[in-house]
Point group: C2
Chain length 496, copies 2
């Protein structure tokens, strides 16, 4: 591994050999990148944003809100784990477009698919999938999206992004619940239901809810935002449904030293869920939960918690929607994060987006198809372009065994972060994500400063919740990238 | 024009010369297709769905709800205005993927763009636009989406489809209104607002509404569905916000014979709007309206109605959102349908999707950017792939003057439909869309049978509302296509 490493402004280049002090393990990845063409390391040439980026930013700001802007990117010069900018800076990217790049920038295999006649047709001849699907749509689903379907689920409804994947899952849950209350799919709507719903009133407009968890995030459209509870700035001034929220377990770390206390915390959360299910004035048709609350600060709960949550929802005939928008597609060391739970009964609905590039929800129970057509419908109902890409992503994940790879690199990264946490306990608090691939986070009172400094040192990282650094590398993140990350983190915390 | 025309099963081929009886006008289009490669006419070889399609349909149904399916398509064999299926049937398509194909199937200029390295990069390196835009995003917006911006609007927020374009516009309206009530963008949220909103309660969750019109359609996610009032089947069993609806003018046709009555009907609607604005228990932050209610049955109102609606909303400091998802991008003979209104003050927000292929909303008032970052935000915030395509669409529209072309072809089509309406008044009722390009509709008591028969005769048409046939040809629909359509319609109504 010979890395021409970060020339940081006014600082000596990092010597990569220092990374050798970290524990090693047998990871195939150290042999070289999965795909050719990746830079050997970060290069920081200017402040970020540099002069060219600043000019582009000003130009963009005249027509597009740039206040959430992190950096301007030059994707044509980005490769693999490395993100470039117009000033020639090259950053190791462990944020990956908010956890949504699966296989690296300009992945050559995905570029092939993106340049294929099939893709061009998908772009130009965009179908209204629900009414005019292409002759190969079933094949594309079966060889693509459905090959990745979670265990026990064999149907898919395609959508556009995480937010509408969740909202269409909510709709499926509401229709299913009302159908059950009505006495089955063959029982027709009453005239009163059909009339009142046009006025947005009961009984046609269901007096039901979706139960979500505090600090959870499920999207920002008006229904999904009603279940999002991560930050007030996401919600303030927007009307919301009066839906219930339960406390998500706030586990104490390290887990092994707080087992009894954490079990108590999880049981209290489950008790609250059951209380809300049985008492909320708008009964929940479903509970939605992230396997690891991501935007809300990387909050974990044990497999036992989720097993009990599944049992509890079954007991009360409430559907369980597992929101795998951020956790899905390999990063936790399983294809789906809920694979870690070993459930006897699968979730009723599993939503996906981000690294899948396509979006939607999986389900297994045929009763979750509404009893009549045009109830779960819209013009595009997803995008075959993204379905084609997801098929390519699945193929590459299989070919390179990237889920197991990520599990191993994640273990390596976690072990070494533990070392850093022992050395710098004030900066690496509540380290979490053990045995969850590279889906790792820690809290730091100086989180924002860490993110800023890391960029100066050539690593693009993201935050979540109030004080968490969330690591969201791609599935092609390897041991030698982990070494750069670890070394940079140490350099960062030493400098502040 | 030499057309090898529809071989309809068991019926003699239609003789195209009969179309000559229709009135003519000086339309450049009759010279030949805009792009080479278009079939000379429909070909119907089997029942639809034919045996191959039926087999594919069964296969698809095992994994995807097919009950809303109209037909299986073979897009690889579709060209221009003609849609093919796996059984070799070739239909003149005047429904165009629910009004969302702008320039014909396999448009060669768009295929070039779809096959470009720029497009491949957009597909593989999908950015989180709000945080990590590409260096050329501003340029792409300026040379693309913003070149099509409605008069008076110079900003854009990009989204994924019509539904979230509308919901993000709603969010902009709610934030704007609350900011105004609070005393301006510099006044911060109160602690009570920030705390209560996490519980989905007032004052943080705004006690505001969006006013929409009866029989309007604005999407199917939970916020947009609360403004959709077209059909009960779209809404039943889904929770809804308690938002107000005003009656949309139900004009009497022909317009010229009912001018006084229609003026009265429109004023009654405006009075109802004003009453709801001033009295509804959740005050409307915005009124949303389609220039022509499309899904709800092609319901029109006069420019005067919309001028007065604009004045009324201004007077009460309520925003006007014009939903151009279906009416936008040329089909009405103007680029935006609201261009027909000659407004002095532009709408506050204009939403778009469908034929733009990209989606989002335009606005002009900088105050519609929220006062803080991350309030109007999501991971992808649109799709550069679709923005690239829309730029290509705009270029082709300009190059071929397709908006004016569509105005002319629309006039030709309308004039001849008037002839059919005189001849077959029972089948062509309330013919509407005069001077609105090809955005034409009529009612028929046997609407569903007409749609079915038309397909047998080689034309794919769509319905809307309870009894309307809605014509939604592409912008490359020409006089010779109109002749086929007219001839087929006559044949259809004669046969039933």
């Amino acid at each position: 591994m010979s890395l021409a490493r970060a020339r940081v402004l006014g600082r000596p280049a990092l010597a990569v050999s220092r990374a050798r002090c970290f524990a090693t393990s047998s990871i195939r990845a150290s042999a070289g990148p999965f795909y050719a063409g990746e830079p050997s390391g970060p290069q920081v040439k200017t402040t970020i944003p540099g002069p060219k980026s600043q000019k582009l930013l000003q130009e963009l700001d005249t027509v597009f809100d740039t206040r959430s802007l992190n950096m301007i990117c030059d994707f044509t010069k980005s490769h693999g784990n490395y993100l470039s900018d117009p000033d020639g800076n090259v950053l190791l990217d462990v944020f990956a477009q908010i956890a949504s790049i699966p296989l690296g920038y300009n992945n050559p295999e995905l570029l092939k698919i993106a340049s294929s006649p099939e893709m061009a047709s998908g772009i130009v001849n965009r179908p209204a999938l629900g009414s005019f699907p292409s002759h190969d749509w079933a094949d594309l689903l079966k060889t693509g999206l459905l090959r990745a379907a979670p265990k026990g689920l064999d149907q898919v409804f395609t959508a556009m992004a995480g937010s509408d994947a969740n909202e269409t899952a909510f709709k499926a849950a509401f229709m299913y619940r009302r159908q059950f209350e009505r006495g089955g799919p063959e029982v027709d709507f009453t005239a009163e239901e059909l009339a009142s719903v046009m006025d947005n009133k009961a009984p046609g407009a269901a007096q039901l809810s979706i139960l979500s968890f505090k600090t959870g995030f499920h999207g920002r459209l008006l229904g999904s935002l009603s279940t999002t509870r991560s930050k007030a700035i996401h919600k303030v001034d927007i009307p919301a449904f009066d839906w219930p929220q339960a406390t998500f377990p706030q586990l104490k770390y390290p887990l092994e030293e707080n087992a009894a206390e954490n079990a108590r915390i999880e049981q209290a959360s489950l008790d609250e869920v059951e209380h809300l299910i049985t008492s909320w004035h708008l009964p929940p048709a479903a509970v939605i939960v992230e396997p690891i609350q991501s935007e809300g600060g990387d909050n974990h709960a044990s497999p036992e918690f989720f097993q009990k949550l599944r049992a509890l929802t079954k007991k009360h005939n409430v559907l369980l929607i597992v929101d795998e928008v951020q956790t899905g597609v390999g990063a936790t060391g399983k294809f789906w994060a809920h694979d870690h739970w070993n459930l006897q009964d699968p979730p009723d609905l599993v939503t996906f987006s981000k690294k899948a590039q396509a979006a939607g929800f999986y389900f297994g129970n045929p009763g979750l198809r509404p009893n009549k057509p045009y109830r779960q419908f819209n013009t595009w109902m997803g995008d075959p372009v993204r379905a084609l890409l997801f098929r390519g992503i699945i193929n590459e994940i299989e070919k390179h065994d990237l889920v197991n790879h990520t599990a191993k690199v994640g273990n390596y990264l976690f072990d070494n972060l533990q070392g850093l946490a022992r050395k710098y306990p004030e900066h690496f608090q509540n380290l979490r994500g053990k045995d969850r691939g590279t889906f790792i986070a820690f809290d730091s009172p100086k989180r924002d400063e860490i993110l800023k400094k890391a960029k100066e040192f050539g690593v693009n990282m993201g935050g979540s919740g109030a004080s968490a650094v969330r690591l969201r590398p791609m599935l092609v993140f390897q041991k030698h990238h982990a070494d750069i990350l670890l070394e940079t983190l140490e350099k960062v915390v030493k400098s502040i």
